[in-house]
Symmetry: C3
Subunit: 439 residues, 3 copies
Amino acid sequence: MSQLPAAAANAPSIGDPAPPPELVHRVSGQSLPAPFYVSDEWFTRDIDEIFSAHWIFAAAEAEIPEPGDFVTVTFATRSIIVIRDDANEVRAHHNVCRHRGARLLTEPAGSTGTIVCRYHSWTYGTDGNLTYADAQAPDFDKTCFSLRPVRVRTIAGLVFICLADQPPADLDDLADIVEPYLRPHDLANAKVARQTDLVENGNWKLVMENNRECYHCGGHPELLNVFFPTWGYSDTDAIPPRLGPVMSRYRQATEELVSVWDRLGLPHKRIAQLDTRPTGFHIEREAMDLAGESFTLDGTLACTRLLTDLGEARLGRVSMHMQPNMWLHITSDHGLLFSVIPLAPDKTLVRTTWLVHRDAVEGVDYDLDRLTSVWDVTNRQDADLVELAHSGIASPAYVPGPYGPSEFQVEAFVNWYVRALRGEHTWPQAAEDPDGSHR
Amino acid sequence: MSQLPAAAANAPSIGDPAPPPELVHRVSGQSLPAPFYVSDEWFTRDIDEIFSAHWIFAAAEAEIPEPGDFVTVTFATRSIIVIRDDANEVRAHHNVCRHRGARLLTEPAGSTGTIVCRYHSWTYGTDGNLTYADAQAPDFDKTCFSLRPVRVRTIAGLVFICLADQPPADLDDLADIVEPYLRPHDLANAKVARQTDLVENGNWKLVMENNRECYHCGGHPELLNVFFPTWGYSDTDAIPPRLGPVMSRYRQATEELVSVWDRLGLPHKRIAQLDTRPTGFHIEREAMDLAGESFTLDGTLACTRLLTDLGEARLGRVSMHMQPNMWLHITSDHGLLFSVIPLAPDKTLVRTTWLVHRDAVEGVDYDLDRLTSVWDVTNRQDADLVELAHSGIASPAYVPGPYGPSEFQVEAFVNWYVRALRGEHTWPQAAEDPDGSHR
Amino acid sequence: MSQLPAAAANAPSIGDPAPPPELVHRVSGQSLPAPFYVSDEWFTRDIDEIFSAHWIFAAAEAEIPEPGDFVTVTFATRSIIVIRDDANEVRAHHNVCRHRGARLLTEPAGSTGTIVCRYHSWTYGTDGNLTYADAQAPDFDKTCFSLRPVRVRTIAGLVFICLADQPPADLDDLADIVEPYLRPHDLANAKVARQTDLVENGNWKLVMENNRECYHCGGHPELLNVFFPTWGYSDTDAIPPRLGPVMSRYRQATEELVSVWDRLGLPHKRIAQLDTRPTGFHIEREAMDLAGESFTLDGTLACTRLLTDLGEARLGRVSMHMQPNMWLHITSDHGLLFSVIPLAPDKTLVRTTWLVHRDAVEGVDYDLDRLTSVWDVTNRQDADLVELAHSGIASPAYVPGPYGPSEFQVEAFVNWYVRALRGEHTWPQAAEDPDGSHR
């Protein structure tokens, strides 16, 4: 039976007989106490016990289509090379020379035949093996100095990595669930139309929490043209009166699309296993407003060359998120990937990648500005909100406040996080876990 | 009987049986040991036990003349809203939303009908009560989520706040003493002609110490046109020979003005209760050099519309300072307020506010540059000196040095500070306190 | 018998019965564990136990030729004035006023008749004695407030300082060894042609390690025109095949120059006492490639006015380095001094000084750009490599890696450093020390 990731088990406090009081006394339904968001100590634990122990989203395969193509993923003091090796496999290595520790690749992305250290020219293959080290003593054994490997797993064109020796064991299961949703969109054969890096002035958890509810969507007027702000309201909740008209449109659009989805054999049911497993996630297919085709101001296509062979433009969106650091939206014409990279307690990188069909031609099939403008402005609006949250929480006057009903995914993210730090996630899940069976 | 402020009593070390050796061994007549000025630990204690436990100067009422007008005061991680409420009362609230902690008002000043959180639109009245929170569960009780209040007290147009639950009890007494000096100048009915924020690269205590002596006034050639550098020398001290001529002018000007002050019924005696009470202060009325009317290069008025009904231009200056964070000068034509806001161990904000009569017209009654240039340049000179002091004290080669006789108010400030950290200030003061009776 | 420097003996951990595990378990032949390079704790120990306990290189006498000329040397929070006093002696004082601690001289270099504090005009002679302090109490004794002195020693025009009360006792011995190499080049009578300050984004030890090997010299194409990359390879090592041709040229050039050196009576033997004494060092005279005269692209002179009376342009280079913070190269026409000043765990200042004969005229005898361009670009290349090393080592994936044979001086520097922290250096050295006799 799968246990705690080993890295987490080795980390300073997990498994200690007396976890810190913040962990023990967390009150359900409320935001976390301030130290989780602002202290150096909890940031270090987050890096060690969350980002170095769990599967994290690293890149799209479309970013590294050819052998030698690589991206680097750098969070806190760690840097990882994700590279397609000469055998066309995706690999990941720690970006640290085995000689005197120099960082090897300093560009965020590129292509290279070998990985050469700029310091003393130690040279590694794309598979991480040391192939050249000049002027060594006769007993020097190159095979002892391969790059330190990082576990990697691709799911429907998405690349996940895990720095732990014993990664959470539930990723295959997750892949089984989400691939039917993702595969029709052929992300592995897409190309990157644009990628942006936005540094937000707030803790990474505030970035995730911001994304896990649409209670704040009034701050996103551009997005709201096509994104139903009914997201997050369950059928049993009283819907705020201001959302009445939009709820009617949402129900009508859903009804229309369900018949399309069913005809095309596209799964669309919401599956949410947010805080009950090591790799918490949710996935669903949802209708969109207006033309319902894409994230544009009127909902019509942003790219006329579709990123699917289904021949249907109005498919709504597949949306997925995975704890701790990613979410995505895919429409018929493009994919939108978001990764969350912690840099410091109060600095978080949000990397956004727009994918289109590899044969789509800029200026012919899509206008880059039209493709990206809605989420560009939405990202900046969210960055402002995250900074407000971080600066307010830093005050000793802050006390955890109550989540409303539509913020249930924020609560679930916080639950997942606290349980991860407590080491409570296991796989396969214990039979007595009431939320543990997902099928 | 009033005791220690509760916040101070709860703070990490106050009341501990064994205070740190720096507190115990402070040598009278010398500058403080280096850690008080440069360490993170003492900065945290200063924020908790001084700035969050004592009355601090926040703003002039003239900055918020109408209901809904506000300023924000932000020091270290705290931010406070000072706002005139709909009932025309000055109130102060912690600038933290009760929902998920977002900072509410981000501008340094402004005017608003309600306090609306930009994150999820939770809305508070100017009195701090939560008036709107969308889409909550049926049992949600708005009355439980008012903004956390901060105590506020106005004295003759000056707004003081205290973050402690039990503020020092001597502010009413202080008000009784200083209001007769301040009230003739009608600060509450003034308007802000200009406000500047200058970040000095030094500890806040070095900013205060810099202001508490004129031994360094040789570095202020512009100010010295009208400011007698005899300030700080007592009659019994040997006056340095270089100050002989200026002392003669000072005595003559004082003699002339005392008769004016007495005729107009203006109190002018120096009252200094600097280190004997929770809210240490000093106030006096002093003559000025040259024309003696205002802080200009020749001492003539900077604003022809006087900020008093006394009909007399040559009144010298009322000067007051209050531990830990303010001083002011008021002449017949304008008021000059200084507040000291700690940002980091080595960063301090000095906010300077020039007040003139609300009916004074820029370009007609006053030229803004002439009004502000003397103290603008003086502030910048002081910022340079504070930075020199901070960078030198940071060296392990620094040892506390001796205060000269004219630096007695620096010594008193340091005394007040050490006694505050030790929790030795009480009110009403114990009978055996030799300096405790101020009347 | 000389012991540990007193400052080191007083420092937090030296002499403790249980040194930290990193010190005990350092594996020979490998780079240091990461905390030595990246942690605040070890940086503080380096400042206290290395830079405040050992002799460090401060300046060239040529930087302060006249009485009143000074430079300031500032590392971490310390600042030192190195000044030529009115009696023409080189002195060093802590750059801290004895009154309220202000930093006295803020320029990196200059000339002054007296040292006047900008704050309250306390005035010190160039010898550090307090000569003026206005308005003090009658019992004030100026003789108690001299500037705190720093030990200083000049060797052949180089100024070394030591902040410890009991500096390492071996500097006279070192002077006896190195002066015969240096004196023919008359550095004390040179002038500064140019001085550059480059802040490298890495730990100071990585800067030193970078300089202690030429294994990385492939990254220095400009330097390699005249600098034989055979440096660091011993005769018994297998030379990498790529270095075969250059080794032949090196041997021929050396053979030619040895006869010149011997004819002129110039010592040239390599003396390396790198890790066996408190003040570890090495010195040698070596041939250079191409014209062999100077650090130019073709090896011809950069300055036609020689910095020696020997009348010979092709002398190769005298090279010396001294633990912990300097190295130099001197050719017949100019001297090149490098000092390493730690600013933060990941920030190091490298100050480079080009010296030419005091009568050399810019534009006539030398072109400044031609004189400085090779090492300017080499310094920038090294800064890039140091930053790569620091950022990689900061990763938890870093493990100490093996030094190759040609990196023996890096190993020796690390050995010296670890022994210094352990307090193992003594002088005169114990008889049983196998490497302890240097003649």
